[in-house]
Symmetry: C2
């Protein structure tokens, strides 16, 4: 055993850990419910236990661990792996790196989950190790990330690339921070579900209504995709308009960062890759400056849920190996 590399993705509902060998071949996986409501202390113990389980599934021992990478939502302090706030877990001020490093006596690195997903796509997926890869992941909000010359683009203390919070319509609807017309106020899965629920309520989306009713908690990506496939034109128009707004956000990303590849991912895009990517790309092609034409591609993510864990493991390894 020449050592194992662990990637962990801490989601709002589930917790996924994968153990890789030095060539990033999967050796073992483990998955648990996150149960954020039980508090951070219990949560960190669950993360540790899930890590142990993945190590066991890899037929390895804890001392074989080379490095652990953890992707976590919300604002966190990168250099000390300190979670300031994970809103969808209800956690605040959690010294995640220190606690897990103390338990395993192995190096632990913590970063933003979307950044690590983009890193995973850059390293192993749709990003193809290009010089500059930007990711846009619409979900409850819209997450983003950027890998520039092999490194995650970051703020001084925390992560950045909050693509969901760029203003694109001064008088638009309010986002979760009460700002009008942010990209995620116009184009998140949550927004799409809310628009689709209205269409269902008005009788314009009979298939959606039958399958999911008008409760936006039940209107998930798969249901949206299915009702479009069944013939709910109104839902298709809603998704298309959202994808056009994503396109406007991508115009901003291209004009600022000149990425070689824009990767669109997350459950919504996975459920309707062609509709969303093609619509966004068309909007971009109509708006991008002539000198930028032909300099970028817009593609769907390739790795699904594995992007986050692979990215976490690979990034943690790169951090460990380049650390002074």
């Amino acid at each position: 055993m020449s050592g194992i590399y662990l990637g962990c993705d801490l989601g709002g509902t589930k917790l996924l850990v994968v153990a890789y060998d030095e060539n990033f071949k999967v050796l073992g996986r483990a998955r648990k419910k996150t149960k954020g409501h039980e508090g951070a202390e219990a949560g960190l113990k669950r993360i540790g236990d899930t890590i142990l389980e993945a190590v066991e599934h890899a037929n390895a021992k804890p001392e074989d661990i080379q490095v652990v990478g953890i992707g976590c939502p919300g604002p966190l302090e990168l250099d000390r792996g300190f979670v300031r706030e994970a809103p969808n877990l209800g956690w605040k001020n959690v010294p995640m790196r220190d606690v897990l490093q103390e338990r395993f006596k192995r190096p632990v690195f913590v970063a933003n989950d979307v950044d690590l997903g983009v890193y995973g796509e850059w390293r192993f997926g749709a990003g193809k190790q290009e010089r500059c890869v930007v990711g846009m992941f619409p979900g409850t909000g819209i997450g983003g990330g950027c890998v520039y010359e092999g490194k995650i683009f970051r703020g001084k203390v925390t992560s950045c690339m909050e693509v969901g919070h760029i203003p694109i319509m001064p008088e638009g609807p309010l986002d979760g921070a009460h700002n009008p017309g942010s990209l995620e106020a116009l184009a998140s899965r949550l927004r799409i579900a809310a628009e689709a629920a209205q269409a269902a309520y008005r009788g314009q989306a009979p298939f959606l209504r039958k399958k999911a009713g008008t409760d936006i908690s039940d209107i998930r990506s798969g249901v949206l995709a299915q009702s479009i496939a069944d013939g709910d034109k109104a839902v298709e128009l809603i998704v298309k308009q959202a994808a056009e707004h994503m396109g406007l956000g991508i115009v901003t990303l291209i004009h600022l960062l000149a990425p070689d590849i824009v990767v669109m991912g997350g459950g919504l895009v996975e459920a309707m890759p062609k509709l969303i990517v093609d619509t966004a790309a068309k909007c971009v092609s109509q708006r991008v400056l002539p000198s930028y034409k032909g300099t970028f591609k817009i593609v769907a993510a390739e790795l699904g849920d594995d992007a986050g864990v692979m990215g976490a493991a690979a990034w943690a390894r790169a951090q460990h190996e380049t650390q002074p």
Copy 2:
């Protein structure tokens, strides 16, 4: 003479060259009209002649030149110093680096003029050598640049950070590329002049009307500032609205790049630094995400026209010294 470092700023109307010693103390300056309409060949000769003049004013000889840095508007290929297009000079496909390198037999580097202005502010001015400095320079359009961990953020072939072309109002007025609601369509000096001309025409800006009439070519930054000082309330409201739009653009820059400092510069900001910077900063403080509050400053540029030439000389030196 331990060698001189030359910075050149190639503007639409004037051409400025400054010779520095190794501590970036000014040794000599030279300035000519650009006369872009005479064509690229004549233009490159004028640049060379102006370089020679600056060298002479520095009491030096051409062989003392260590390196030449040139800031040039428009899309250009950074690695080979090739100007694809300089729209306000009427030049296309100009091998600027090669021609000047051939003439002086010294290393020449060419970059985007706004990028070099931001680099100058990062190195010597308002940017204070921070980890991440973003610049916004409203003029005929709105230029931008970013210095990230000591390097100019760039595209694979050309420069990027086209902050003037980020869409902030889907149904807004058209910009020069015929796109609706780009930042520069709403907040450039040209837009402000066009709005102010209408106010003057309607009799709502008597001081402006008296000084500059209703020809937008005559409504320059200084005239706008003076008419506000004289009491043209309508002009003040127009500038304020534009500054609020700049603020929206800065919200985007902060949420994406998490800069430590945002530097606002150019003639318009120089003429009304407090009005524009304070108004933009207020808009930003109302819209920025809580986790970003207190992580950045928004300041006026400090170096004026010297930012571009100092930046060009310092950047060229850094490029030369780190080249493989």
